[in-house]
Symmetry: C2
Subunit: 463 residues, 2 copies
């Protein structure tokens, strides 16, 4: 399982291994899970309250059911750009003041955008919850965008793209792999946007996106912490409750992929690349779109085959045969429409890409033919339960678990039954999904190849 | 140069080598070219009259400035589907009667769709011109679509896709190469559409497309043949002149490609594939988007390097070294936004793909370093002039040359000066564009690999 919560600064863009979809979030266990309350305001806002009375703090999040994959063609990056612009103020809050106010009260705040969601959060002392709810509700309806602020902020996102993507060969390759894996679906477009389209994003583009998607009936409020459902309901009614409904949006529908019939390869040579890196993505369903049980079995298949140092790939390639200095992977089940399987390896010096590929193919072939052992399965399942239990200790982790899952179409029941459903996966299930989804025709393989540096001196000599 | 005019039956879908853009059309020469007249009707219809008095026949074409690349996301195939549905009749013409009426009068008709245009044409005796103009103008405004006819015709296009694409490994690979070459621009989507989207195309989708794009102010009428401009003007005014303007459309704008940074490879293994085939596409500008002179130089570069049996690639790979049983390629300059360079080779028995790739790389490298000879250039230019002169002999060829070019943003001046501009290309230009555009990072390489057939018997033995 890859960690989907990367970056801690404000305006965090979710840059994931492949930027494609967000990764596992919802592994609640009914018996041990928190005692969650759900209700809906009259204007359509979904509210989830997650009690946590260990300390007098509260995590407050608003999740909008819109992400980069909902952008209009040619306007890539607008979801993330608007996330930045949400800090530009309202009639009540001066530009740039939002976070300063939170910080002055000892809190922290952040925001992020993925392919499917855009979320804002603050973590504050419980007595400041009314204030942040007031402020967040205010900017849900009353954002003020000045042309000059928009232009300044656009420079910020362009610079963000330069530093995070263009300056990183592995990010560039990830982006290319995404663009190649998807032939039709917008998950192939990077969340941050293509540079040439970002450079043209306008105040009007941002306002169009804002007016269409930012409204209580397209949002989910999560409050986790030292509060009662009644407290939250009263506060929500006097803050978010005053915000008017937005347009009635149809269920999100994006162009789906045609059948994949041919494996693809992308080779990026770069002087800045550190080590030769091999990686592969397989397009598979997400939890939301997979037949019942397949997503759960894929989680465990990848756990056993590629995830972490106890995985088969790590043991075979790194520990035993020393073909690779590192190897791993995982399953990303969280997209509205698609998930992906991810595998990577860094071939050791003198080892060819083909040797590594063949060895990995052998591991997969073995699982397809012979499945996995009961012990491996049990260990994988236990590992998930452990992750879940640890996850319950994190207030913000719980808020994200519920928020992300609900915003991408899971029900609370889905979230809470997930650990039990993982426990129900059998050895036979794993063999079956390995045969069904580890399919080269729907894969794309990436090679990051270090290129010898051309120094200035060498160039000079040449001329 | 690839021939872009494929298929002769009605409802011809333009399935090109890569389905990406249409291929060279406009090579007129001022001195020898036809004496073309242009005028515009009050309702915005552009009219071009091309005299040809050798026989009492007329070619009549209407070109709509809309193609598959203008489709809404998720509605792929609607441009081509509507082309089929245009034969479903109006209040005056019963469903399916259009072509029968033309045939009864000894004429023939056809239609086709590309990424950028949709066109309808008839070739009739001159006395029948008023009739076909009346009929074509009628269906520009008064198309009648019955739900049952739409559903029946949808089965026809689904079957067309099955027989032309799904049953042809090389077409399947072409489609995959297109989808991989383009990461953002809709040229990556096949003209005929993705099967899963075609299967959902509705009467309403067709009507939406029709109402938006089918109107005199988005169309070009070409009449070539035994007519005078005055004849055509009078007829046009009493037929098309009665059709009302449609919506004022903005200049077509599609999402453009991000910079390409990594070469891609697509490998299709198929039992039905005849021979191992290697091919490569490079994304380059079209005539419309290239800096002045680059498109012209690319035409000649590809003519010299890869086109036909006098090309360097053919001589080296097929004739001298016998590395390939066939080899060739060309330049497709006609897209509104992009063109592409195409190269292919069929490795001889026992020859590896790498040998072929290396040999082709050597040919390109040589041109990048040393250019081409004056003699090669001269021969390439002469060959174009010859094509042009022969092209002038074909009435329908002329109609297509003007229609396609005008519908994709060329001016008449562009068309008529093209041969002169090809003649102005220098050896230095060719060296320059070879260095600029034969860039692996913007290429995609396709391999069609015959897979040993699994016979029913073999399967039976295995079980």
């Amino acid at each position: 399982m890859m960690n989907f919560w990367k970056g801690t600064g404000r305006f965090t863009l979710m840059v994931m291994a492949l930027l494609l979809t967000m990764v596992a979030v919802a592994k609640a266990e009914k018996k041990n899970g928190p005692d969650v309350t759900y209700f809906k305001l009259e204007n359509g806002l979904d509210v989830v309250v997650i009690p946590d009375h260990r300390a007098p703090v509260v995590t407050h999040m608003v999740w909008y059911k819109v992400g980069a994959a909902d952008e209009l063609p040619g306007v890539s990056g607008i979801a993330h750009f608007l996330e930045h612009l949400m800090f530009k103020g309202t009639d009540k809050i001066a530009p740039g003041e939002f976070s300063k106010i939170v910080a002055r009260h000892g809190g922290e705040d952040n925001a992020f955008t993925s392919q499917d969601v855009t979320a804002y959060f603050q973590r504050v002392a419980k007595e400041n919850l009314p204030m942040v709810m007031e402020m967040e509700a205010d900017r849900m309806a009353n954002l003020k965008l000045l042309e000059k602020d928009v232009l300044t902020e656009r420079d910020v996102i362009l610079e963000e793209r330069r530093s995070r993507i263009e300056n990183s060969p592995s990010s560039m390759l990830s982006e290319q792999l995404g663009a190649t894996l998807y032939q039709s679906h917008p998950y192939g477009i990077p969340v941050i946007g293509w540079m040439h389209e970002m450079a043209k994003l306008s105040r009007q583009d941002a306002l169009d996106h804002y007016k269409k998607y930012y409204a209580p009936n397209n949002a989910i409020l999560i409050v986790a912490g030292d509060v009662t459902p009644d407290d939250v309901r009263k506060l929500a009614e006097t803050t978010y409750g005053k915000v008017e409904r937005g347009p009635e949006l149809k269920a999100r529908q994006r162009p789906m992929e045609p059948p994949h019939v041919a494996p693809r390869t992308v080779t990026l040579e770069d002087e800045r690349a550190g080590k030769l890196t091999w990686q592969r993505y397989y397009l598979v369903p997400s939890f939301k779109t997979a037949p019942r049980g397949d997503s759960e079995a894929l989680e465990l298949l990848m756990k056993i085959a590629v995830e972490g140092t106890t995985s088969r790939i790590y043991k075979a390639l790194v520990v035993e045969k020393k073909l690779a200095s590192s190897a791993g992977g995982g399953y990303s089940p969280n997209g509205l429409e698609y998930g992906n399987l991810y595998v990577y390896a860094l071939p050791s010096k003198g080892v060819s890409v083909k040797q590594v590929e063949d060895e990995i193919a052998k591991i997969f072939e073995d699982i397809r033919e012979n499945g996995v052992s009961e012990m491996e399965l049990k260990r994988g399942q236990n590992s998930y339960i452990a992750d879940y239990v640890y996850g319950n200790d994190s207030q913000s982790g719980l808020a994200r678990r519920y928020g992300f899952a609900l915003a991408t179409g899971w029900s609370i029941q889905d979230i809470e039954s997930y650990p039990d459903r993982l426990k129900a996966v059998t050895v036979e299930d794993i063999k079956r999904v390995a045969g069904k989804y580890l399919n080269e025709a729907s894969s794309v393989t990436g090679l990051l190849v270090p290129k010898p540096k051309q120094t200035a001196d060498m160039n000079a000599t040449k001329q």
